[in-house]
Structure formats: structure tokens, C-alpha cells
Homo-oligomer: 338 residues x 2
Amino acid sequence: MENIRQSDIAKALNVSRVTVSKALRDHPDISQEMKLKVREAVEHLGYIPNQIARQLNAKRTYTVGIVVPDLENNFFSYMVDAMVDYATTQKYHVLLTVSREKQQIEKENIENLIGMRVDGLLVCLSQETTEDGIFRMAEKRNIPLVFFDRAFDNLPFSRVIFDDKAGAEDAVNQVIQQGYTRIAHFAGYSGTSIGRRRSSGYQEALRKNKIGLKPEWMPEGGFEWKDGYEAFRKLKSSGQLPEVIFTVNDRVALGAYKAAKEAGLTIPGDVGIFGFGFHEITDFLDPQLTVINQDPRKIGQTAMNQLLGEIEGVSVSGSTLMIEEEFIWRKSVKQKGY
Amino acid sequence: MENIRQSDIAKALNVSRVTVSKALRDHPDISQEMKLKVREAVEHLGYIPNQIARQLNAKRTYTVGIVVPDLENNFFSYMVDAMVDYATTQKYHVLLTVSREKQQIEKENIENLIGMRVDGLLVCLSQETTEDGIFRMAEKRNIPLVFFDRAFDNLPFSRVIFDDKAGAEDAVNQVIQQGYTRIAHFAGYSGTSIGRRRSSGYQEALRKNKIGLKPEWMPEGGFEWKDGYEAFRKLKSSGQLPEVIFTVNDRVALGAYKAAKEAGLTIPGDVGIFGFGFHEITDFLDPQLTVINQDPRKIGQTAMNQLLGEIEGVSVSGSTLMIEEEFIWRKSVKQKGY
DNA sequence: ATGAAAGCGCTAACAC
DNA sequence: GTGTTAGCGCTTTCAT
């Protein structure tokens, strides 16, 4: 059985296709009797409207495109989950693409999605991305676009991002209030805005508390557990171990745990560790990670909501929405109790 | 700037729209000179073909629909990641939906995707699903569909599933070969095919080794960490602790770890634990989990490959593809060294 | 080598 | 109340 069309129903009922079209959309033109007949035929024949045809006509697809760097990272999969959830409640469809952290793939994804005539775009920049050409062209085409989690600063699109600087500063400050002064930071890359914001919160907290910065305590590396592992080993072999390490994310914290344990050090006894993070993994770390908690669902929901708002013309583009973070004390940093 | 069309290019070049259409698709009819001109104009005007119009005409969308129970579960997000990856290399788009483990939402998702005229469907059944009506209708409509990870047995669609029975049987057998006889199984739900297959592999291994089954050592509960936690506590308070526990998945293992540690028991000294699992979490468990390793990317890749094959008419529907699992000894079960 | 005509399935404007 | 006409942007015969 092939797909059946409105005209098939029309033929079966001996009326014109337009009558059917109108009946389906409950147009006042059509009599109740006719509508009933049509509905029966729809049921009986298993008619499902061809959205493609509708979309061509309406010049609208009720579809949004998502470009995400990676879905294996649970952080992103939570965001996408929340986006799909919210889109579905609003009767929008979701076309999903993955950039694999590559600028070139990201660009192709966006072009493909524009070809598919999505009503709007949700993008989280790849770590590589430095060129904004493709975004300029989206701007020219008036395509609603919202950045989430990672964004360009100098483009007229809305952005939904965590308030990392405030989160980091608050956390480091709380740790300092507990009496710590020797606090290192495993900083990811300063080439990314994420890395910069977190580092700047850290530095701000030290500065406000009149604690000097030590470059050797702010090693850059990356965002994976291997990077935390390496950074810890280097720090250890330098003989300059701090009291507490603030890691740029939970994967880096994981690596630091591993290296610390291998070196025969206990957490938090010999060294405390805390960092940005978000989900159940950090509950099961031993000891539980003290964390600046990020809720990826919040960012996903907010971003989709903002985008749909812009599409429907009820929200203004170019907004910056900051998502709050919460510092949660757990076992991996000792509370001295000052 | 609005979207521009082929006719705009045609106007600019003073030729007919058909000439442009042909030039774009490198049709032999058109002169090199003309093609160059067209390409320049495309570049200059920023023309991007309207795929919606193409799709309506071609009666094909080069889009596949995915229905997945949940994206927060890393197990599924890995699968989806692999699917998107593979689809992209084959120039297919992906429409993503999430069923939240609800039969009703799953059904609506499938209807929506059919309305969007996807070329094929990839579905992982929700835990609730018992009715196959919607799948019967997909069958009638000749829509290629491939089940992944969770499937109906009695429908003429292809299925890509882990060979859990073999995996469980092999693992339990290996453990028995190490000299263990007192092995319990935290079994999830026997209402799911996953639960049944894993349990049946466990039972088969015991039977073949002439070890009696003890119902009190095969508690059912669920698939979350709380369930492993509860099951362990019950077992402990019954005073009937086995030497080794085989858990239906890694989350249940996690719960068992937690309960064991709270009870002051060491792993693997007082009790060994192993189970189905797949990703980095199990590397960071302390001790590392001995695991029947499942690779969700394999299932995702294979399922997408099978579906696209069926769409293109080169693969036969109704196939069952079994994905192999690998038993990996790590620290959570002692190898006695027999 | 180029173009005119028709159609993909649906909707909107305007008759009858 | 129901039907006719035209068009969304593109492709595919079939003429010229």
C-alpha cells in the first residue's frame, strides 16, 4: 500500500479535493455531515497528511536544526534530550546533527539544515571554530539562531550560557573562606571562552582575597580525563602540590583522582579536589566530588524556548541568557569549619 | 534577505529556470560556459537549494526517523551518536524523537515521522510497549523499519540486538570455571526481553555446570541503581550472601557496590560483582567492574547501515543481526586462577 | 543547447 | 456548501 492523498479520499467520496482539505482543517465552509464522512474515510484509508507538501506551501517547516559537538558526552545528550522534549510539546520537529568538534563539519551541518529549510537553528560551537562566515550568512538570511553553552560574543544572535565566571568565583571564594589559600586550577584551554570564563572567576576570587596567582598552578591542558591525569602528575613531580585543586570539569577531576590515588595520596586528606560537573557520575566518585553543579537540561530547555520564541516573533534576538550554577559541598574537599 | 530560488538566478542570467536546474545538476545538455555562469551566480547570490521542494518532487526525503526511549541514558546517546554519524556519511538526515519510555508517545512519534515522510524508521521500543498496531500499519505502508536493542519478535522487521543470552552464559561460565558455584543474579524485570535473555543465559550456564538454581538468588527489581542497592540489602539481611553477584546492568552493579560498602564488605574480598555494562563509568568504579562489555556504537552503526540498505533495496528486511559482547575480567571479581 | 508544460500534495483566494 | 484556479520550488519529459 502506497501513501494515499487527499485526492484519493475525494475520489472515494465523490467530492473535490479542496472539500477534503477544508474538512480536514475543520473549515467552517464545510457541513458537519461532510466532515464526518471525511473523517471516516481518513480512518478507514489510513490517511496521514504529507507534511512535506504542507511545508512547501506554508514556507515553514516547524522543524528546528540542532548542531552539537558530540553526543557521547552526557553533558550534551542531556541538553539535546531537554530540547527534543520541549520542541515536541510545541509541535516542532528536530533535525539532529553532530559536528564532532570540527569546524568544517559544523559548517556543512548548518548548510544542510538551511537547505532543509529549518525554521531555526540551535548551535553549540565546536572547540575548533574561529570563523564566523557561516553565521554571518545565517544572519543575512534572517534565520533565527540561538547559541547554547558555547557562543560567539560578537554576533547578533541570542546565547544561552552558564554563568561560569560567577560560579567559579563563588566556589573558589567559598573554599577560601574555609581557610584555604593554596588553590590550583586545571584550566582546560584558554582558547575557549569556557576555559577563559572559569579561569577568570578563579583569578578574580584570589585577587579579591589578596592571594597571589602562580602560573605553575594554572596549567592548561584540555577537557578530558587524561588531561587532569597528566596535569596532576606534573604538579606532583614538581614537588609543589597545593592544598586544593579546582578542575575545569568533572572529567579532568576524574583524571586527577586517578593520578592522586596512584601516587598514594588520599582525597581530601592530602589534596582536595573540586570542579565543574553535573551528573550522577560525580555522585559515585569516591569520595563524592564537591561540585559547581551545572544543569544541562536547564540550558537545553531555555535555548529551545528562546529559539521558538524568536521564530514565533515573541522573543527578541540578541539576548544573553545566563544559567545559574550551584556550589555543592561534598566529600572531596574538607570543610575546615571556619 | 529572503531565500532565493532557481528562478531568481535564471532571471539574473536571462535564461529559463530549467536551464539553471539542469546546470546545477551538471546535466550534459548544458554548455560549460552556461554552467560556469550559473555557478558564479549561485556563489554570488548565496543560493541554497530548497530540499523541501526537491523532496516533494522526488517522493523521497533522504531522512530517517529515530525513536529512542531516553537520551539521558548514555547507552542510548552513544547509539544515536553512531547513527547520526553514519547517516551523515551517507547523505541522510536524521529526525530525532524521544518516547520517554511511554507507549503512547512512541506511537505519536512514529505517526509524526511518517507524516514527515521519512524514508525509514529506527526504533528502540519503550519498556511499556505491548501493542504492535502502529508497527502493523508501518508494515502496510511499506516503510522500512529496523528495531534496535529492544524489539518485537513476531513482526517482519529487521532487528539489531545484543546477543545477551550468549554473553551472559559465557560470562557466568567463565566465572564458574574459576571455581565459583555460589553465584546470584540481580535480574531486572522478566517482563522485558532483555531481562529474560540475560537471565536465561545465567540459568543455562548453571544448568550446564550442574549447579542448582535458587529462586532467592535471582531477585527481580529493575534496571536502576536503587534496585541493585535494595536487592543487595535484602540479600545481606537474609544472611544468604553468595560469593559473586551477576547484575543485569552497570547501574544495578553501582547500587550493589554502594550497599556492599555501606555494609562494611569489601569487593571482591567479601563478595565479587560483575555485570553487563559499557562505558567509562565502569572504568572508574572502585574496584573496576568486571564486565560483559556492550558497545552501543556497534548497535547504532549496524542498525543504521541495515536500514539504509533496506531503503536502497540492497538489504533484505526481516533480518536479525546479533551484536557480540565481550567478557572483560577486571578487579571486582577475584580470579582464583584455576 | 535551451525552453515549455506538467506534476509532486497541499492550501488560499475567489467564484458558483 | 462546494468547486475552480493558481502557486509553493523543483524536476522530468518532450519539443524546438
